[in-house]
């Protein structure tokens, strides 16, 4: 028996439990991708029910359907452009009035709908009783009671989806004030009459396809001055007369009402909803603070709020790195063992080196980050699912808003102290694409964990013990200050514009569902492995090649030592080429080569310097005890010719210049283009050079540290 195929979309407010419902319905049968051109996730899943094969598209959670945010635009475009059989609107039973506002906008698109009133158990426990049948009659949409987390009402919902024709629901539409209705009718008539064919012809060429949208919806959007619809209409010359009519109607209505039309239309929708809710919803005010209010009294308290916040952030950090790093180290050992095994198994030569150093090293470089990514996203998924993430934004917004960012930018930037890769991925919690981009661009300035051993060694080599702490601290502080300054700079000149409104819901606290958390964790990890992994591997092979070739000198003879080979490799030559550029900041070509190696990973800077200055095996130093560290520090002091100033400038340069290649790959992945990773490389290197130039020349002039 062949099953009937239908396509439905899940729409709803954020925090309405929409994604939980999606996860419960589709389980592991999900596909996550990106909408073209934007960084909004596209989730699809499948479920079979009653001889139907149902494809479910999980739309981004939105409060409205305007063209202001990419999430809303994406949701709207799916609703308008894709052949949907039905829309399931998921609403929060406790917040019916606000949630129904989106419902009214969805209804105007004239796609068959089902209303899933979710989290009904919580609402009932809080004194809210909903008459579902009456509600359905009043708003003209089939309604079903659902508790997604407990699986209640799912069969009823699926029955409604597959047998919608059985329902006996009257046609209902929001009716606005009489003057508005008259204007809508006039515009609709113009849209439907002689214009239509011509519009059809015109739009076939520019693919804006206005003609297939519901005419009432188009009329309302034109009256509301919806940006996207108005722009499309303006691009069609035949619509000029209609646009004049729209303008005339809008002006006369606004003059009469003393308010603008967008407001009046919104009020019309709310008035309609209020009427329906008054009849179908009974609310018994419980005369006590809800659980959420009692928790917020402590978590958002003027005195205890911030300490608890920093404790939670500390826990997140510990979960990610204290738990993750031992696994990372274990994986690193495994990768090293695999490299040795491959090297022993294959006959010596180029292929051996490519596989054991290039490919295994590259794949290893991808895999070793997986534990921290999984753990960080476990932590973030819990913070989001419980509702604490919005509170974190609430607590931190004042500081972040000063540099033009959103309170939510704080968490990714903090994660950046551990590892920039998961930090960049954590910017997914930001809805506004501009805020997200700027956060991504400045997060590499938060000094990551891999840079710490480099600082430690340089500080041990050049600074007395009593200064060590202060020097290290100053590096971190400089990183934070630069991140804040650059955020302000980028938000002012690079991506200017209104900052994201902070009008934000502080949702009810909930226990996270294991299944949802696990799915979210796995999706992120898989996306990282699949997308970023391939780019990291490619970079690893390029860096390997730069340091490996040429393997022999012009006479075809092997180099006498590893030092000599590295000096003559392409990377070595590149280092010599850039020497004139880095000389003003106090570096010689050997430092340049080490910095080039640092693109692969910051830890390599030290081992490359060790090879170039013939200081022996730096790996044993990095892992070894203080005795080795001391000898390495001594060697660095003796061989490098650095003084305190150059050492400090080198630390600054390592702090600021290009994040590692894995970060670049993740930025490429998250922004869907090469533009921003290349920009990141360009701006960090320039900024590093400028800061180092000022510090080095200033230090020379004042005679500090020389």
């Amino acid at each position: 028996m062949s099953s009937k195929k239908i396509t439905i979309a899940l729409a709803g407010n954020p925090n309405s439990g929409k994604t939980t419902l999606f996860n419960i319905l589709t389980g592991a049968r999900q596909h996550v991708g990106n909408y073209p051109g934007v960084t909004v996730e596209r989730k699809e899943g499948r479920i079979k029910h009653d001889g139907y094969d149902i494809k479910i598209i999980d739309l981004p959670g939105t409060y409205g359907l305007t063209a202001y945010s990419p999430d809303e635009l994406v949701a709207r475009n799916v609703l308008l452009e894709e052949e949907l059989d039905l829309v399931v609107d998921v609403v929060d039973a406790s917040n019916l009035e606000r949630n129904l506002y989106l419902t009214m906008q969805l209804k105007e698109l004239e796609i068959p709908m089902v209303l899933a009133v979710n989290m009904a158990d919580y609402a009932e426990a809080n004194g809210i009783t909903i008459n579902y049948d009456l509600l359905a009659q009043l708003i003209g949409i089939p309604v079903v009671r659902v508790v997604a987390t407990k699986g209640e009402g799912l069969d009823d919902l699926l029955d409604l989806i597959t047998h919608k024709e059985k329902e006996n629901i009257p046609e209902k539409t929001v009716r606005y004030k009489i003057e508005i209705e008259e204007a809508i009718a006039r515009i609709e008539e113009m849209l439907n009459s002689d214009l239509n064919l011509e519009i059809f012809d015109a739009v076939k060429k520019d693919s804006s396809r206005l003609e297939k949208y519901p005419s009432r919806w188009l009329a309302i959007k034109l009256l509301e001055e919806d940006k996207e619809v108005t722009e499309k209409a303006q691009s069609i010359s035949k619509m000029a007369g209609l646009l004049d009519q729209v303008k005339k109607d809008r002006e006369s209505i606004e003059l009469d009402a003393g308010d603008d039309l967008e407001n009046l239309i919104a009020e019309g929708r709310y008035a309609y909803i209020r009427g329906a809710c008054q009849e179908a919803v009974k609310i018994v005010e419980l005369n006590k603070a809800s659980k959420t209010e009692r928790i917020d009294k402590v978590l958002l308290n003027r005195i205890t709020g911030l300490p608890i916040f920093f404790f939670v952030m500390w826990l997140l950090f510990q979960l990610t790195f204290a738990l993750g790093n031992p696994i990372v180290e274990y994986l690193e050992d495994l990768v090293a063992l695999a490299g040795v095994a491959a090297s022993n198994a294959l006959s010596p030569g180029l292929l051996n080196s490519l596989i054991s150093d290039g490919i295994i090293g590259g794949v290893g470089g991808v895999v070793v980050f997986l534990p921290v990514i999984l753990l960080l996203f476990l932590g973030i998924a819990i913070l989001e699912a419980t509702g604490y993430m919005s509170r974190a934004a609430f607590l931190m917004d004042k500081i972040m808003h000063k540099v033009g960012l959103h309170g939510k930018s704080f968490v990714p930037m903090l994660i950046g102290f551990g590892c920039t890769i998961p930090a960049i991925m954590a910017t997914r919690t930001l809805e506004n694409p501009k805020d997200r981009l700027v956060t991504m661009l400045v997060t590499p300035l938060m000094s990551c964990g891999a840079k710490l051993p480099v600082y430690t060694l340089l500080i041990a080599a050049f600074f007395p013990n009593h200064m060590a702490g202060n020097i290290l601290f100053s590096i971190y502080i400089i990183g934070i200050l630069l991140a804040l300054i650059m955020a302000k700079v980028f938000r002012t000149w690079l991506v200017p514009g209104e900052s994201e409104p902070f009008v934000m819901e502080l949702p009810v606290y909930r226990m996270p569902k294991l299944k949802s958390v696990a799915i979210q964790m796995w999706e992120r990890a898989w996306l990282y492995l699949r997308k970023a992994g391939t780019i990291i591997l490619a970079f690893a092979i390029v860096v390997w090649a730069l340091f490996t070739f040429p393997m022999v000198d012009s006479q075809g003879m092997n180099y006498a030592s590893a030092t000599e080979q590295m000096e003559n490799s392409y990377a070595g030559r590149l280092g010599k080429t850039i020497e004139p550029v880095i000389a003003p900041i106090g570096f010689e070509w050997k430092t340049g080569v080490a910095l080039i190696a640092g693109f692969a990973a910051k830890e390599i800077v030290v081992s490359t310097m060790a090879t170039l200055y013939s200081m022996g095996d730096a790996d044993s130093v990095l892992e070894g005890g203080t005795a080795e560290a001391k000898s390495f520090a001594q060697l660095t002091r003796e061989q490098s010719g650095f003084n305190q100033l150059t050492a400090f400038v080198l630390m600054l340069f390592i702090l600021i210049y290009v994040p590692c290649m894995a970060t670049i790959a993740v930025i490429k992945n998250e922004t869907n283009s090469w533009r921003w990773p290349i920009f990141t490389i360009g701006y960090t290197v320039s900024l590093a050079w400028v800061v180092c130039f000022v510090v080095y020349q200033g230090g020379m002039f004042l005679g500090i540290g020389v």
Binding site: Y63, G64, T66, Y68, S69, S94, N95, E97, R98, Y101, L102, D259, E262, N263, A266, E267, Y270, I283, T292, E293, D296, L300, N301, R302, I303, G305, L306, S390, A393, F394, L395, D397, K398, I399, H401, G407, E498, E500, P501, F502, V503, M504, E505, L506, P507
Partner: protein, 81 residues
Amino acid sequence: MKSLLSDLEIGQNAKIVKVIGNGAVRRRMIDMGIVPGTVVKMERYAPLGDPFQIKLKGCHLSLRKEEAETVVIEALGGTGR
């Protein structure tokens, strides 16, 4: 007496009279239910003094001072803290 939402004291209730301003911020406010006729309660300020937390139609919202300054209200008195 008409005043702005940003002037409302903690624990006080007010009725929204008008939302001034325009663009994305006002649109978002409308979507979140900040519309004339609705009753709001000022719940608290963030520990650093901004943003605010308000309660409206049974749910908790946060908004910045600059955003609250675009909401004209009529104070209804309140239950105090």
